[in-house]
């Protein structure tokens, strides 16, 4: 997605041609002057290290590299497209990033003349090599910010880098990005400065301002279960344990994950059902969690604040009626109308439901049910 946005905002990048078969990769390499870089087109990181980026010295070279990518895939994912990019003659490599800095509530622009380094490491060990310039959101990026940033680069790269930074800031603001990172930013032998590889993070809260970005994003495959949860407005993150977790409120769900871990088991997911916890939301949540074959037990942890636990209990029963469940479901209801809620569950006498009085007890029961120890 980064490259599309870069193109839209005029950030200079290497010329690139998308190819869907080896012949096209060969032809593209010809168009680009006889050499190229062939890159798999998948939306996961570590492309450079896993053989996903290959230098081609000739069209035939490119065809071979692309052919191998199409036939072998990349990190267990099928490859249907490769990007054939021009080989640019690199003189020097730098790094730049613009981001929303949560510790100040404003923007932060960073630049260093050291390309290809781990930026966190650099910030720790040699902070003087990383130029950090705060940018006030109301003032925007000013010429002196740019001058201060590019001052860390060799003089002949400054003008080109300044142009890139101004465009990146425009992208950051106009596209509601929270991070725009270029690593490496390169000075070419002909003096041009271009973005060789990039990462852009868009603020989910602002997607309504950017229906086009939603489309761009939709073009990349995501996990179908996550997609379903997202479509229902649920916050779902797949994890690698076996206790499915459903709770109301992000903090409480995170806390539940932790308490389950302390009880000796591992959570299979994070799922925040949100404020209402209606029968519908509960049904979808259960469906989402149960669709994960790793789940051996489910823990529903609800603290009734505004949410009334009696309604939650009814929602769970209704949901189970619609969804069905092969695994035990530990339910902890607390807060508003909790006793009433527990009574409803007890009276329903549902074979899969295991009631728990507290969060701690619920976590221990769930851990026992998946065969975990009693570590806490």
């Amino acid at each position: 997605m980064g490259k599309d946005l870069f193109a839209r905002h005029g950030v200079p990048v290497p010329r690139g041609i998308v190819a869907e078969d080896a012949a096209a990769a060969s032809a593209a390499t010809g168009d680009l002057g006889g050499t190229s870089v062939v890159k798999v087109q998948v939306q996961i990181g570590g492309r450079g290290k896993g053989g996903g980026v290959v230098l081609a010295d000739s069209p035939a070279d490119a065809a071979r590299a692309a052919g191998r990518m199409f036939s072998e895939g990349f990190k267990d994912m099928p490859v249907t497209r490769v990007l054939v990019e021009e080989r640019v003659p690199i003189a020097e490599e730098f790094y730049t990033a613009l981001l929303l800095d949560r510790s100040t509530g404003g923007y932060l622009a960073m630049m260093t003349a050291e390309g290809g380094v781990d930026i966190e490491e650099l910030a720790r060990t040699r902070p003087e090599a990383l130029r950090r310039v705060p940018v006030d959101p109301l003032l925007g990026l000013r010429t002196y910010h740019v001058r201060e940033l590019t001052g860390v680069l060799p003089p002949r790269a400054r003008e080109g880098a300044a142009d890139v930074v101004r465009k990146l800031f425009h992208l950051l603001r106009e596209e509601d990005a929270t991070l725009v990172e270029v690593n490496p930013l390169v000075l070419l032998e002909d003096g041009r400065v271009i973005a060789l590889d990039s990462k852009v993070t868009i603020d989910d809260n602002a997607l309504w301002r950017h229906p086009d970005l939603d489309e761009l994003r939709a073009a990349f495959p995501i996990d179908p279960v996550e997609k379903r949860a997202k479509d229902q407005g649920l916050q779902y993150v797949k994890l690698d344990g076996d206790v499915g977790i459903i709770g109301n409120g992000a903090g409480l769900v995170m806390s539940t994950l932790d308490v389950v871990a302390q009880a000796g088991a591992r959570a299979a997911n994070f799922l925040d059902v949100g404020g209402g916890a209606s029968a519908d939301q509960m049904a979808t949540s259960l469906e989402v969690v149960l669709s994960d074959p790793a789940v051996k037990a489910v823990l529903i942890n609800i603290f009734g604040g505004i949410t009334r636990c009696d309604l939650v209990a009814e929602g769970i029963l209704e949901a189970l009626g619609r969804v069905g469940a092969e695994v035990p479901i530990v339910v902890r209801l607390d807060g508003t109308n909790a006793e009433e809620g527990r009574r409803i569950l007890t009276e329903a006498n549902h074979g899969r439901i295991v009631s728990a009085a507290t969060m701690l007890e619920a976590a221990r029961r769930a851990a026992e049910l998946v065969g975990g120890g009693e570590a806490a």
């Binding site: 966190e120 109301l138 809260n205 602002a206 871990a261 959570a267 604040g305 508003t336």
Partner: protein, 289 residues
């Protein structure tokens, strides 16, 4: 005693005529909060169960002397609503709205910086001083008046921990839900400063979560400026890096923002950190004994 909200609070509700706005306004009033006005553009002259509605916050302030605002405006207009409250001279703005774009909040943050208006939130459950005033959606029933201050990034963890405290018979001076967004108003440091100055608070519970460095900075503040005991809780030990855990702000980036680092930062300055909400309540009980 208490911080932020109390007997002097005169509340105006922005977005009072929406479903959520009306519901919580009446709930807050029933709790004893002095709700003096509501604002919904185009509905001036109407009332919500006797609470007069105005077109602008400025008009509400002029006519009723409101000094605190609670915002239930949808995310597209909520940042603007905060600015409106600040320009109208409101002292405290509590923004409940979830989902405000970070860019809008960054502008709001820059505008409020150095001014007199204090913001709580957005994407927060609000502030309650049990027995005095409730501004937001924290259920008053689970709280009890007392001398423990609480500040939390997570809303439901406010409920969970207040519940654990109340069950042990430990009441609260004020509970502040600061919200889980990356760019927010009042934070741990400002809350700790207010609690430190509040003669009605003996101990502060701070509830953090993964992401950012609010907790680390708060720990430094605790070591330098806080004399009252602090008990901490951090959620998210099990959260994998790079995954947003519900809150926009709850994400571990690279090696930064982990729960372990935060808990360690707090412990290194002498704060007790509970590993479960239940343990937090026990630690508070022990510290007060």
């Amino acid at each position: 005693m208490s911080i932020l909200v109390g007997p002097d609070t005169k509340l105006v509700v922005q977005g009072i005529t929406g479903k959520e706005g009306t519901f919580h306004t009446l709930r807050n009033r029933a709790y004893g909060t002095d709700v003096v006005a509501g604002v919904t553009p185009g509905k001036a002259g109407q009332d919500v169960e006797g609470i007069p509605v105005f077109d602008t916050v400025a008009a509400a302030v002029r006519e009723t002397g409101a000094n605190t605002s609670m915002i239930f405006v949808p995310p597209r207009g909520a940042a603007e609503a905060i600015l409106e409250a600040a320009d109208a001279g409101i002292d405290l703005v509590v923004c409940i709205t979830e989902g405000i774009p970070a860019r809008d909040m960054a502008e709001v943050h820059a505008y409020l910086d150095g001014g007199r208006t204090v913001l709580v939130g957005p994407n927060c459950p609000g502030v309650i001083s049990p027995g005095q005033a409730n501004v937001g959606i924290i259920p008053g029933e689970i709280c009890a008046p007392g001398r423990v201050g609480l500040v939390s990034r997570s809303g439901t963890l406010v409920y969970q921990i207040v519940h654990e405290l109340s069950q042990l018979g430990i009441g609260q001076s004020t509970c502040v839900g600061m919200g889980g967004d990356p760019v927010h108003g009042i934070g741990f440091i400002e809350s700790l400063t207010l609690f430190e100055q509040d003669p009605g608070t003996d101990l502060v519970v701070m509830v953090g979560e993964i992401g950012g460095d609010d907790e680390e900075r708060a720990a430094r503040h605790v070591s330098e400026r806080v004399t009252k005991p602090v008990v901490g809780y951090i959620a998210g030990f099990e959260a994998p890096p790079g995954k947003r855990m519900g809150h926009a702000g709850a994400i571990v980036t690279g090696s930064r923002g982990t729960a372990a680092a935060k808990a360690e930062a707090l412990e290194s300055v002498g704060a007790k950190v509970g590993r479960t909400p239940t343990e937090v309540a026990s630690l508070v009980q022990a510290a007060l004994a």
